[in-house]
């Protein structure tokens, strides 16, 4: 499903180039559930952003469903983000002006779904993450765990084959964190390919595969026994 070949991402800091991702090659098969681990600053978020088509690598090739992403124009990348990839952030990234349901509907606006159908499609997804009763609450009126559930619903509303979660439980207490993780693992069981950045060994233990990063290099990639 995903194939990264010699992906490098460098940032220029004054005189020196620092490499956030160094020569990363990686294959992800459909239905996989992968934990990304590594110390802070090791390039986990950069990897997620490249895979999520939010960031462009400095060099290397990236194939997503056999399409070359590296050569795509901005509009095509936007389409991939909209239709193929669901992104869940550590800091939720909801629009606080809008109620939960509007936040969930938002990706559908950019897929050209008419407004009546948007609501029809957003409600069952909110129901799936257990927030149907709160759909008219704004993010400010929801707890962190609830906000992250809205964010997951937003990521899922277009039925993307790939879900990327960058420390989704980083801002949550352990109980809400566990709930969010259950939702994500469930999704994988329903066929969604999932990559999840985490610091938690127990979380990694629930995944099928763990990739370790250090200073931009992949230093470990093994299946969970």
């Amino acid at each position: 499903m995903i194939q990264l070949t010699n992906i490098t991402k460098t940032y220029r800091m004054g005189e020196v180039d620092i490499c956030a991702l160094c020569d990363v090659s990686l294959r992800v098969a459909p239905g996989d559930l992968i934990a990304i681990m590594g110390p802070s600053g090791s390039g986990k978020s950069t990897l997620m952003n490249v895979i999520g088509c939010l960031d462009r690598p400095t060099s290397g090739h990236y194939l997503f469903e056999n399409k070359e992403i590296s050569s795509m124009v901005d509009d095509d990348l936007a389409h991939v983000r909209n239709a193929k990839i669901g992104f869940v952030f550590q800091s939720f990234n909801l629009l606080s002006r809008f109620p939960a349901i509007k936040n969930v509907e938002m990706p559908l606006i950019y897929s050209g779904v008419p407004s009546r159908l948007r609501r029809e499609r957003a409600i069952p997804v909110l129901e799936k993450v257990g927030l149907k009763e709160r759909m008219f609450h704004t993010p400010g009126e929801l707890s962190g765990g609830q906000q992250q559930r809205v964010a997951i619903a937003r990521a899922l509303v277009n039925n993307p084959p790939l879900l990327l979660a960058d420390e989704p439980t980083g801002n949550l207490d352990s109980r809400s964190g566990a709930e969010i993780l259950n939702i994500i693992v469930d999704l994988n069981k329903q066929g969604v390919t999932v990559m999840i950045v985490t610091h938690d060994k127990d979380v990694a233990a629930r995944c099928k595969r763990t990739i370790n990063l250090k200073d931009g290099w992949i230093v470990g990639d093994e299946a969970t026994p």
């Binding site: 939010l54 960031d55 983000r81 938002m106 990706p107 606006i109 950019y110």
Partner: protein
């Protein structure tokens, strides 16, 4: 993402920040209001003057002594004359220019009119009987100057309404004697009330026979000849006849000027048209300032919503979606400001004549359309830069923005 969706997104942003949106619009509202208001005042003045000029009488031709090269325009009533026009010139025109219905000689000056111990400084006009008809002025009581009065240099006077009211009050002036300078004149008539015409009070006048006027002002010339043709189509031929007759009488020199009402109208229209354009232009500048206000706010708004832009991009918004969102937001602000400004401008324009009677206004469709078009254009022009700035943000940087 279609237009309606983009509009909804932009509209949500506008109403979620009502105070700021209102203040931003205020700049455009004031600009558009000023355009509509000033243009309607300029237009009102133009229409007023056109009406007054056509109300002078039909197809007037005014012959003044001296040759001016410009056509049309006004001459101050006391312009010094180079070559004289005479009473006999007017008689010759009356006799021989068959296209003219009238050729009325005029002498004019200011003087003191006195009755018993009351007096008034007023305009004294020496004319003939036809003046009444040519200028659409009519006697109310008594009679007007007659040809016999002119022939006999009779010392008779017809009073304008205001002069009569000032000197006689309710008393009937007919048969009474007033003093013009040092001469005694018998009042034979009072004019019907007419009011202001082109800034000149037609009621503040004393009419006397032209020959008596020449004596009073101690001149053998006349100030001007007012002629009229019954049909507008004949104007050019009538001018030819006048030139023919007068040059022959003036040793084959064209030492006089013939002014037509049409020429006066055209000149006034040009002057007032330019005035209106200048006023509109000045108001347009304030609209421009309003536009700069929009740009300013939009730049702030783009910065404030950097994270929102990042989020929208992360979930699939294309650059042009973001661009459209902010551009439409700017256009909606300016167009809404335009509509409110137009409504206020039209409203105030219609109210002005009710409270200030000397200030006629005329709301013209073109100024409304222009103001609206211009306000939308201002929104586009000043919205493009902030919208582009929003659209070209890097999604990662935008998401990181605090």
């Amino acid at each position: 993402m279609n237009f309606l969706e983009t509009f909804k997104v932009a509209f949500e942003a506008i109403i979620s920040n009502k105070v700021r949106s209102g203040l931003t619009m205020l700049g455009v509202i004031i600009g558009v209001l000023a355009v509509i208001l000033l243009v309607s005042i300029g237009e009102g003045a133009r229409i007023y003057i056109t009406k007054e000029l056509t109300g002078l009488g039909t197809n007037l031709l005014i012959i003044t002594p001296g040759k001016t090269t410009t056509s049309g325009g006004f001459h101050p009533p006391s312009a010094g004359t180079v070559r004289k026009l005479t009473y006999d010139d007017s008689l010759a025109l009356r006799r021989r220019a068959w296209l003219l219905t009238d050729a009325v000689p005029i002498v004019l000056g200011t003087g003191k009119v006195k009755y018993q111990n009351k007096f008034r400084d007023t305009t004294i006009i020496g004319t003939t009987a036809e003046f009444e008809r040519v200028r659409n002025l009519f006697v109310d009581t008594g009679s007007y100057v007659t040809q016999a009065d002119v022939d006999s240099k009779a010392k008779i006077a017809v009073l304008g309404r205001k002069v009569k009211d000032e000197l006689f009050g309710a008393e009937s002036p007919l048969g009474k004697v007033v003093m013009l300078s040092d001469a005694r004149y018998r009042v034979v008539g009072v004019m019907r009330k007419k009011g202001m015409s082109l800034g000149w009070d037609v009621d503040d006048v004393v009419f006397i026979p032209v020959t008596s006027g020449q004596e009073l002002f101690d001149t053998d010339a006349i100030f001007e000849i007012i002629a009229s043709t019954p049909r507008a189509e004949d104007t050019d031929r009538a001018i030819g006849q006048i030139k023919d007759i007068l040059t022959r009488r003036h040793a084959h020199k064209e030492d006089f000027t013939i002014m037509t009402q049409g020429a006066m109208l055209a000149t006034m229209n040009t002057i007032l048209g330019v005035l209106t354009a200048v006023l509109g232009g000045i108001a347009g500048i304030s609209l421009l300032v309003g536009g700069i206000g929009i740009m300013n706010i939009m730049l702030v708004s783009v910065r404030e919503r950097t994270r929102e832009i990042g989020i929208r991009k992360a979930i699939g918004a294309r650059n042009k979606d973001i661009m459209a969102q902010f551009l439409i937001e700017a256009m909606t602000l300016s167009a809404a400001g335009g509509v409110i400004g137009i409504a206020l401008g039209v409203g105030i324009s219609l109210l002005i004549p009710v409270f200030v009677t000397v200030l006629p206004t005329s709301v013209s469709l073109w100024s409304i359309l222009l103001a609206f078009f211009f306000s939308v254009a201002v929104g586009v022009f000043f919205g493009v830069y902030p919208a582009r700035k929003a659209a070209l943000q890097d999604p990662i940087q935008a998401l990181r923005y605090e």
